[in-house]
């Protein structure tokens, strides 16, 4: 039973990883690529690690897999956020088809207030 649950989690995680990397190649902009790739690959890798835990149970490899899943889940959004802000501050333009730029609005409002 736990073998089946683990195998289903592994396959779904594999599909999330594949779709995230297709989004990394196909999307037009650094910010679009960042959000597609980071969300999909974080969820997919966490699903693979939880699937490994479901297969092996409470063992050395299973405990390490849960530890690694918690670590990836905590650190990947932080890295993506730092990278997006660094890209914006380095002066990389948004895609031409973008409709809203909240960061520019907020910085402009702060400049007018101060």
């Amino acid at each position: 039973m736990s073998e089946t649950i683990g195998l289903i989690l592994l396959i779904v995680g594999m599909l999330f990883d594949l779709f995230g990397c297709i989004g990394l190649v196909r999307l037009p902009d650094i910010y679009n690529r960042l959000q597609a790739a980071t969300k999909c690959v974080t969820l997919g890798t966490c699903m693979i690690l939880i699937g490994l835990f479901a297969m092996t149970g409470i063992s050395s490899a299973g405990i390490k897999a849960v530890l690694c899943a918690v670590f990836v889940l905590l650190t990947s959004p932080v890295a993506a956020h730092a990278l997006a802000r660094a890209a914006y501050r380095a002066g990389i333009r948004l895609w031409d088809g973008s409709v809203v730029d909240r960061y520019a609005e907020i910085t402009r409002k702060k400049e007018t207030e101060s």
Partner: protein, 92 residues
């Protein structure tokens, strides 16, 4: 070849390696430096999953140590590269 090749572990490994090659395409082509940094970060996260599959197929748990170390070093490297990219055009 007496053993079957198209089993689930080998299929998952092949798909993860294909995703890794898509990341390598983005690293090679990416027009700006943050594109390449994103692709390197994603490649590190993919390889953590690959280490998990290796742990499952071989039954040896030290591959999971490699995965934890890879995730940690990928995070530190991404933060360092983000700081470097931010400081390049720092007018304030």
């Amino acid at each position: 070849m007496s053993q079957a090749f198209w089993t689930w572990p080998s299929i998952i490994m092949i798909v993860l390696l294909f995703s890794g090659f898509l990341c390598l395409y983005r690293i090679g082509k990416g027009p700006t430096a943050p594109d390449r940094t994103v692709a390197i970060d994603i490649l590190g996260t993919l390889m953590v999953g690959f280490c998990a599959i290796l742990t499952w197929t071989t039954g040896k748990d030290f591959y999971m140590n490699i995965g934890i170390t890879w995730a940690l070093l990928s995070f530190i490297g991404t933060i360092a590269l983000a700081k470097y990219l931010e400081g390049r055009d720092f007018d304030e």
